[in-house]
C-alpha cells in the first residue's frame, strides 16, 4: 500500500472517531450512558446509509445499507471494511431483498388440526412459559450461528443460569464443531490463530476439501486478485470434485473420500524422511500426542515420544498414500517439499470438507500438526485457518458458548470452577448451573422424535434462527418422525415458512438483520456491530425479546430460576435514572439498547481465555475488531491479528517468539498429533455403489429460505440437481436433464442430472446441493458423527442411482 493510501486510511480512521459521536447523538444515544437508539432514514427522498455485517456467511463482509423512507433500497460493499474492501458476492449485493419476500411471517400462529391459526403475542408467550414451567427438564432450545451475540447471550443465560438446564445447542454443531475440537486438541483454546491478513501474505494456498470460489467468494478473490496484479501464488485444491475453485488452481489433487487423513500423514512422513521438519520450532513449541486406547473418549489423548511418532508415520509412504487416496505419489512428495521449504508462506483453508467428517477432529488435528511440524505457523501467511459458514458461528456459539457442554468465554459446564465463576458473573446462586452436559444436536432431536414414554425425554423444543427440518442429517429419523408423535411441542421462531415450520406447533414471527440491533463474530475473531435501521413487518419481533419475554412470564409464574442473587429478574436493565425498564414489554424493548447491556455483561466473561472484547461503543465506531482487543495506556483499544505470535499478541510474555499460553500440557507448547487413517462407517458396496457428497452453491445460502426469495438468485439457480461423472451417466443411460433417483438405506429423492455443470465429481461419486426445500437431500444422508465433536458427516454416504422414466416408476 502506498503512502498516500495510508494517509487516506489514517485520515478516515481519525474522521470516523469524531463522526461516531455525531452518529450516536443522532440516535439519541450517549457514549458511556444508557443508550436510546432511534430509527433513522424515515424522512423524504434522502437515502441514509449505515453499516452492517452481511447477513449470510462467516466471511463477515461489511455492507453499507441504503435506507429510504423506512425501507432498504440499496446495498454497497463497504470500502472501509478490512474484510472485503468494498467488494461483495452476488448474495451480499442482494442481501437487502431478504426482508421483503411476500410470505414474511407477521403474526404468531398456533397449530390447530392440519393448519395454523393466528394468536396474540401474549397468548404465545404465556403458552410457552406454562409448558416450560410444567416440565423444565423436558424443554430444550436449539439455536444458531445466525443468532446475534445478544440473542445467544440471552438464550444461554435463560437456559443455563435460569432454568438450570444444559439442553441448549446450536446448529454450528452441524458445521463447526470439529474445527473447535481440533483447535482445543492442538492449542487448548478455540479459534484460529491467524486471520484474513494471511491471505495477503501467503504464497501457497492449500484448500482442503474447500470451494471458496463459491462459498467464501470475497476471501477467494482476495487471493486471486493478488495474482491478477502480478503476484505469484501457488493455489492447490485437494478435493473430491472439480469446482470453480479448481479452475483457478495450478494443482488439483483428487482424493478418495475420507483419505485426506492419509494425505496429511503422507506430508508428515515426507517431512521426517527428508529431515525438512522444523526441529527448532518443534523442540521449542511442540509436544507429540496420540489417542489413548485405554481412554478412547478422551479427546486430549496421551503423550508420545518423537520416536513413537516417527514409527507411527512409518507406513505412510507416498506410494501407500497413493494406494489409499488415489493421489499420485509424486504429488504427495510435492506437498512434502512445499511444507519442508521454510521460505514459503503456506496458508491452509478448510470448511465443511474437513469438519463434516466422522473423523473431523482427527483431520483438523493433522492439518494443524503438519503446519506445526514444518514451522509454517505464526508468521503472516503461515497459518492453518478454518472458515465458518454462518455469520456468527464463532461470535455467538463458540465464544458465547451456546452449546450443551459450554459456558461463555471458553469455559465448560463439566468444570466446577468454571461453573462457580459463571454463576458469580451471572449473579445467580451457587449450584444453579448443572454439571452434566446437555444433549448435543443429533441426540436432542433423537430424543424429541422418540415417544415420551419410550425414553424421548425432550417434549418441548424451541428453535430460533435456523431450519433443522432441512439441515439435520437423516431427516426421517431425526425430524419427520415428530409428525406422528403425541405430546411433542415444536416452537419455531422464523421469518419465512420453512421445512421446519411445516411441523411447528407454534410459529413466532421474527425480526431479521437490520430490523433489529445486533452483533456478529466472523471467522477471523472479528466482532461486528450494527443498529436497527427499519421496522420489522407486522407483528414480527426480535428473537432476543421473545426469550426475555418468556423468561419474564416464567418469573411471573414463580419460577425461582428467573431470579438472581439479588432477588431481581435475571434480565433486569435499568435506565440512566436507575429505573427498571420493562424490556419484556415489546413497546418498551427499544427504550434501551438491550444488545448493549447484554454485551457489556457478556464481555466480563471473555477475559478468562484471553478472548477480550472491547466496550460496545468501540464496535459502533469500527468495522469490527479482532479479539483479543486490549486496552492501551492511552485509553484506546487494540485488536490482535496474529495470536500466540510475540510480535503481535499482547498476551505473549517474556519476549517469546511463539507462546501457546493455553497449552493443553500447561507448558506453552502446542500438540502435534498422530491420528491414523480409518475407513468411514459407510462405504459404497455392490448394493449402494456411489459416494454421495452434499454442499452449497454460490447463489444460495444454506437452506435458501432467504436467497430463494431473491429473484436474481433463484432464477440463476432454481432448484437442486445431481452432478454425475460423464462415464457414470453413460453407464446409467442418462443424459443431462433426465431424472434419477438417489437412494440410500435411509431415504430417496428424485433429481435432474447435470453433467459437466457447476462442478464435476470423480467417477463413482455424485454431488447434490442442499438448498432446495422441495428436494431434501438430507432425507438420504447419514447421521453418523465424529465421536468428539458430535458433528455429522454430510459429505460421505453410500447411495445407488437409478434412472426414473417419465412415468415416475423406477425400474
Amino acid at each position: 500500500m502506498n503512502a498516500r493510501a495510508l494517509d487516506r486510511r489514517e485520515f478516515i480512521r481519525r474522521s470516523a472517531l469524531t463522526a461516531a459521536g455525531a452518529v450516536i447523538a443522532a440516535r439519541g444515544e450517549s457514549v458511556g450512558a444508557v443508550s436510546l437508539p432511534l430509527l433513522q432514514g424515515s424522512g423524504g427522498d434522502e437515502v441514509v446509509w449505515d453499516k452492517a455485517p452481511c447477513r449470510f456467511c462467516g466471511t463477515g463482509c461489511h455492507v453499507q445499507v441504503g435506507v429510504q423512507d423506512g425501507r432498504v433500497v440499496a446495498i454497497a460493499g463497504d470500502p472501509l471494511a478490512e474484510v472485503n474492501r468494498g467488494l461483495l458476492c452476488v448474495k451480499g449485493y442482494h442481501v437487502g431483498k431478504i426482508l421483503y419476500g411476500a410470505d414474511r411471517l407477521t403474526t404468531p400462529m398456533l397449530r390447530r388440526g392440519d393448519g395454523h391459526v393466528p394468536i396474540t403475542w401474549d397468548e404465545a408467550i404465556d403458552l410457552i412459559a406454562r409448558r416450560i414451567h410444567a416440565a423444565p427438564d423436558r424443554f430444550a432450545m436449539y439455536g444458531s450461528g445466525q443468532w446475534t451475540i445478544g440473542e445467544g447471550c440471552a438464550a444461554n443465560k435463560f437456559m443455563k443460569a435460569g432454568l438450570g438446564s444444559n439442553h441448549i445447542d446450536g446448529n454450528p454443531r452441524l458445521c463447526m464443531s470439529s474445527a473447535v475440537t481440533g483447535f482445543l486438541s492442538c492449542y487448548g483454546v478455540d479459534e484460529p490463530a491467524g486471520c484474513y491478513d494471511d491471505l495477503d501474505a501467503c504464497n501457497v494456498l492449500i484448500m482442503w476439501g474447500n470451494n471458496p470460489a463459491e462459498m467464501h467468494p470475497v476471501l477467494f478473490s482476495r487471493v486471486i486478485d493478488r495474482r491478477a496484479r502480478g503476484e505469484e501464488i501457488l493455489l492447490i485444491d485437494i478435493g473430491t470434485r472439480r469446482t470453480r475453485t479448481t479452475d483457478h488452481c495450478q494443482e488439483y489433487l483428487e482424493f478418495r473420500p475420507q483419505t485426506d487423513l492419509a494425505i496429511a500423514n503422507g506430508i508428515a512422513h515426507q517431512l521426517l524422511k527428508n529431515g525438512s521438519w522444523d526441529t527448532d520450532f518443534v523442540s521449542k513449541h511442540c509436544n507429540f500426542r496420540q489417542l489413548d486406547p485405554e481412554q478412547p473418549a478422551n479427546m486430549y489423548g496421551k503423550p508420545m515420544t518423537f520416536d513413537e511418532y516417527a514409527a507411527a508415520l512409518e507406513p505412510y509412504t507416498p506410494e501407500y498414500v497413493q494406494s489409499l487416496s488415489g493421489v499420485p505419489a509424486e504429488k504427495i512428495r510435492m506437498l512434502g517439499d512445499l511444507f519442508g521449504d521454510r521460505s514459503r508462506r503456506i496458508t491452509s483453508l478448510w470448511c465443511m470438507g474437513m469438519n463434516q467428517h466422522t473423523r473431523g477432529t482427527a483431520i483438523n488435528c493433522l492439518v494443524h500438526s503438519i503446519h506445526l511440524l514444518s514451522g509454517h505457523f505464526g508468521r503472516p501467511g503461515d497459518a492453518p485457518t478454518s472458515l465458518t459458514g454462518q455469520p456468527s458461528a464463532c461470535g455467538t456459539v463458540r465464544e458465547v458458548g451456546t452449546l450443551s457442554h459450554l459456558l461463555p468465554g471458553g469455559r465448560t459446564v463439566a468444570n466446577e470452577a468454571h461453573r462457580r465463576d459463571c454463576e458469580d458473573l451471572w449473579n445467580v446462586p451457587q449450584g444453579r448451573i448443572k454439571a452434566a452436559p446437555g444433549y448435543h444436536t443429533v441426540l436432542m432431536f433423537e430424543k424429541f422424535c422418540t415417544p415420551s414414554d419410550a425414553g424421548g425425554d425432550i417434549d418441548t423444543l424451541w428453535v430460533q434462527v435456523t431450519n433443522p427440518g432441512q439441515t439435520l442429517p437423516n431427516l426421517h429419523k431425526l425430524f419427520n418422525r415428530k409428525a406422528d408423535l403425541e405430546g411433542k411441542f415444536l416452537i419455531v421462531s422464523e421469518v419465512y415458512p420453512t421445512a421446519t415450520t411445516r411441523l411447528a406447533d407454534l410459529i413466532l414471527p421474527s425480526a431479521m438483520w437490520v430490523e433489529k440491533n445486533g452483533m456478529y463474530g466472523n471467522s477471523e475473531r472479528r466482532t461486528q456491530q450494527w443498529f436497527k435501521m427499519v421496522q420489522p413487518p407486522g407483528e414480527a419481533r426480535d428473537d432476543c425479546w421473545q426469550t426475555i419475554a418468556v423468561a419474564h412470564r416464567l418469573h411471573e409464574l414463580g419460577h425461582e430460576g428467573m431470579k438472581g442473587n439479588d432477588g431481581e429478574f435475571i434480565f433486569t436493565i435499568r435506565d440512566e435514572r436507575g429505573q427498571i425498564v420493562p424490556i419484556w414489554q415489546w413497546e418498551r424493548y427499544y427504550d434501551v439498547n438491550v444488545d448493549r447491556h447484554l454485551f457489556e455483561e457478556y464481555r466480563r466473561f471473555t477475559r478468562y481465555k484471553n478472548k477480550d472484547l472491547a466496550p460496545y461503543d468501540e464496535y459502533v465506531r469500527a468495522r469490527g475488531l479482532r479479539w483479543p482487543v486490549v486496552e492501551q495506556p492511552g485509553g484506546t483499544w487494540r485488536e490482535t491479528r496474529f495470536r500466540f505470535a510475540g510480535f503481535d499478541d499482547p498476551y505473549v510474555t517474556g519476549g517469546a517468539e511463539i507462546q501457546f499460553y493455553h497449552s493443553v500440557t500447561k507448558d506453552d507448547r502446542a500438540l502435534v498429533w498422530f491420528r491414523p487413517y480409518e475407513d468411514p462407517p459407510e462405504m459404497p458396496d455392490a448394493e449402494y455403489p456411489f459416494w454421495l457428497d452434499t454442499g452449497r452453491v454460490l447463489e444460495h445460502w444454506h437452506t435458501g429460505t432467504m436467497t430463494g426469495r431473491i429473484s436474481e438468485l433463484r432464477r440463476a439457480m432454481p432448484r437442486a440437481y445431481v452432478e454425475l461423472h460423464p462415464d457414470d451417466a453413460r453407464d446409467l443411460g442418462v443424459q443431462r436433464g433426465d431424472v434419477v433417483r438417489i437412494e440410500s438405506r435411509r431415504g430417496h429423492i428424485d433429481l435432474p442430472v447435470w453433467i459437466n455443470g457447476r462442478g464435476s465429481p470423480a467417477r463413482g461419486q455424485v454431488f447434490v446441493p442442499f438448498f432446495d426445500e422441495t428436494r431434501l437431500i438430507n432425507e438420504v444422508t447419514l447421521d453418523a458423527h465424529d465421536p468428539f465433536s458430535r458433528q455429522p458427516d454430510y459429505k460421505k454416504c453410500a447411495v445407488r442411482v437409478k434412472r426414473v422414466p417419465p412415468d415416475g416408476q423406477t425400474r
Partner: protein, 264 residues
C-alpha cells in the same frame, strides 16, 4: 509393293507421340509421387467430405465447435472472435442526447439490476466452471453481430466474474416463477448537475469499481449517455465526482470533518 513397310499416316504419328508423352508424364508423375510419399488414397478424401449426408444422420460435433454445440454456452454466437466483424468507431460524431433516450437507457439498465449499484445479471448462458470465457468478450468490449454490444468491464482487475454476475435466466433447468418480493430498488440518477448552462456536468454516481468511464460512456455507448469527446480521456479533470456518493465516505460527516480534521 510390300505391305510390310507401310509408312505411318500423320494421324498415327501424332497418336504415337501423344502416347509416348503420356508414358513419360506417367513415369515422371510416378517418380515425383514416390518422392513426395503421398498415398494415392488421399485423393479420394474430398469426395467423402462433399458427400451428401444421409438425411437421418446426426452430425458429430468437432472439438473446435464444442463450446458452440447446441447445448453449449456460446451456441448463438459466431464461430470465432477473429471472425466477428467489429464496426469502425466514429470518435468524433456528435451524439444526439435526449431526455427520452436517457430514460430508455436507464430503463434497460434497471431491468438487469435489483437496484442502482447492484451487479447486473448476465443476459446469456455462461460457462459454469470457468470465468475465462467472460473475459474473451468483456475485457475490451465487443460487437456480437450488428445488434449486440458485449460491454467492457469497468473493473478489469477483478477476475472472478461469476462471484457477482449470475445468469438472469436459468439455462440448465426449467425456469421457476420468480419469487414474490416487494423490494423496491434505488433508482439510478437521471444525470449530474451543472453549475450553469455550458458548465461540465458533475458525476451523478459513485466511481467505486468504475475504473473506466469509457466502458459506459465511450463511443460504443448508447447515444443518450455517450460522451461527445471520447478522445479527452482525463474525464475527472472537468467532471467532478461527489464524496456524498462515494461509499468511502459514507458514515463520515464529510462537510464537518473537512472543516475540523487536522491532516497528519
Amino acid at each position: 509393293m510390300s505391305p510390310a513397310f507401310r509408312t505411318e499416316s500423320p494421324t498415327q504419328r501424332v497418336i504415337h507421340l501423344l502416347l509416348l508423352g503420356v508414358m513419360a508424364l506417367a513415369l515422371v508423375g510416378y517418380v515425383v509421387g514416390l518422392r513426395q510419399g503421398r498415398p494415392a488414397r488421399e485423393a479420394e478424401a474430398p469426395a467423402v467430405v462433399h458427400a451428401r449426408p444421409h438425411p437421418t444422420a446426426i452430425p458429430a460435433t468437432s472439438w473446435a465447435e464444442f463450446d458452440r454445440r447446441e447445448d453449449g454456452p456460446n451456441r448463438d454466437w459466431p464461430p470465432s472472435l477473429a471472425e466477428m466483424q467489429q464496426p469502425a468507431l466514429d470518435w468524433e460524431a456528435e451524439p444526439v442526447r435526449t431526455e427520452e433516450g436517457r430514460r430508455a437507457v436507464l430503463a434497460a439498465r434497471a431491468a438487469r439490476r435489483a437496484f442502482d449499484g447492484a451487479p447486473p445479471t448476465v443476459p446469456h448462458p455462461i460457462d459454469q466452471m470457468s470465468a475465462s470465457s467472460c473475459v474473451a468478450c468483456h475485457a475490451e468490449g465487443r460487437w456480437i453481430g450488428q445488434e449486440v454490444w458485449a460491454p467492457m468491464m469497468s473493473h478489469p482487475h477483478l477476475p472472478s466474474c461469476t462471484q457477482c454476475h449470475v445468469p438472469a435466466e436459468p439455462t440448465e433447468f426449467e425456469p421457476l416463477l420468480p419469487p414474490a418480493n416487494s423490494f423496491v430498488g434505488l433508482a439510478a440518477p437521471m444525470g449530474g448537475s451543472r453549475a450553469w448552462e455550458g458548465a461540465p456536468p458533475t458525476v451523478p454516481h459513485t466511481l467505486f469499481m468504475r475504473n473506466n468511464c469509457l466502458a459506459c460512456h465511450g463511443p460504443t455507448a448508447p447515444e443518450a449517455i455517450r460522451t461527445a469527446h471520447p478522445l479527452r480521456v482525463n474525464c475527472l479533470q472537468c467532471h467532478a465526482p461527489s464524496a456524498a456518493l462515494d461509499p468511502w465516505w459514507r458514515g463520515v460527516d464529510v462537510r464537518d470533518d473537512f472543516m475540523s480534521a487536522t491532516w497528519p
